[in-house]
Amino acid sequence: MHRAIRLLALLAVPATVVGLVGHRRPLQADDVYRVASVRIPERGRRAYRAGEVIVQFKEGVRDRDASDMMREAGGRSAERSQFGPRYLVHLDDGFEIADALDRLRTMPGVDFAEPNGIARAFQRAGYFTPHDPFYTSQWHFKMLNSERMWGIQKGDTSVAVAVLDTGIAYEDFGPFRKAPDFGGTVFLQGHDFVNNSDHANDDNFHGTHVSSTIAEATDNNVGVAGLAFGCALMPVKVLDHEGVGSFFIVAEGIDYAVNFTQNGQHPVKVINLSLGGDSISNSVRQAVDRAVTAGVTVVAAAGNDGAGKISFPASLPNVIGVGAVDGRKIKAPYSNFGPELSVVAPGGDIRRDDTGPDGVPDGRPDGVLQQTFDPDTAEKEGRYDDFHYFFVVGTSQATPHVAALAALLYRQGITQPAAIKAAIESTADDLGAPGRDDTYGHGLINPVNALRGYGLNQ
């Protein structure tokens, strides 16, 4: 009886939370990767100019064609930028911004389209507050004192993070669409090692969500923020549509990212691996060694078994292995632990609601909030354009917080992976037993302390 009550209580918590939030399809016994999570609808406070949108066309699009497309989207008149094929479009009366954006984003010649956000001159000194309407629900950034962190460093495109995952929704190509909230995020040429293609598009949802935590377009008055939003991303697809890959492919992906050059430079400084396996691979270990020798920091997920064993390659000594905490800074139940754990970062617990104002439940589950497409729509209809903001949990979601911090540290001038790792570990907030322990590693990352300790931009 007692056991039954406990079980009912366990079931009741998520049911209550989810009921307040909205859509969630019933769980099925064999759900592994095909589940649409809790999502919040596209709404929030307006922080952009009425009746105006910005549209950038791709190279080679003729002005006349651009003009036709803008008119078709409801444009009455347009001002062309002096520096490229970017237009400020004034909409005809009766045309909604959202409709115009929807139309423009489906047009093949359009690079991106976004509302014309209102620029604000005043920021608290040393702080940067983004005007993304759902930023207020990103408790996982606030836990890291993100606004003070951005006051120190936001990153730039000289530093890129390669995300080895299921791909990223980074371009309009075939059935794939660029996630609207990637806006002006810069993407380097990636590769799809699953299908051997230059188009590393996401067909699962996972890689897009992970990448959004690192460099979602920020302060664009759309959706949510990214932690190192000034940095570039490289999509490297090493996991298939079910989120499964192999040692060989992951090793290939690491080598690709490390060897990539642009204008004679190696822009990839950080590799994010929100993936892992049970056994050890020489191929992957050697690829990681080559990456670290080349000055690239590798960050990997500790794994989601809730077990006392860190997944590989997070268990490697030259990798930053990342575990997850919930909204209370307590180890998430799924997060693996062990002697190889470096640090923890917010990964959330979708069954809890502890992160509202003053600790009062806000009716939203404590997952990491980012944009990705609905995997249900992708699976049932073959459409990869049904973008929403999803609360997702896991060490996969904790890892990109640390990868983003590593990227910002590179921008601060640190160039060696061992120094990056030491900076992150030595400035972490100690949790659990005093000193380093196997549950929390060196503790919860503290980006402000890490960034203030290094560089001149304090």
Binding site: A29, G276, D278
Partner: protein, 110 residues
């Protein structure tokens, strides 16, 4: 007649006292036995997987997973039982190690 009633009452009381339901030792022993059965089943499955060069989730050795495991759904926070997952993929493993086992979901303790 009252003697028969008394006897019946005594017998009933005896039966109730002897009921394994209320005996903590029996309950504990049942739990221990279930644990032992599970451990035996896990061992059998692990042997079955190893003999076919499969990883602990029934996939080819060298497989990597989003989040490090196929058993945790990051979209729902839901964990599924490893043996159920393997049996779903390899019914022959179930036939070899747990022909009478019923599938069930497992939730991680909070």
């Amino acid at each position: 007649m009252p003697t028969v009633g008394l006897l019946l009452s005594l017998l009933l009381a005896g039966a109730l006292e002897a009921s394994p339901k209320d005996d903590p030792a029996t309950t504990k022993s049942k739990a221990t036995s279930a644990k032992a059965t599970r451990a035996r089943e896990e061992k059998c499955v692990d042997r079955w997987l190893a003999s076919r060069k499969l990883d602990p989730y029934g996939m080819p050795e060298g497989t990597m997973y989003a989040g490090g495991t196929p058993l945790f759904n990051e979209a729902t926070g839901r964990q599924i039982d490893r043996l159920d997952y393997i049996y779903g993929k390899h019914p022959e493993a179930k036939a070899a190690c747990a022909p009478a086992r019923k599938a069930r979901s497992r939730r991680k303790p909070t």
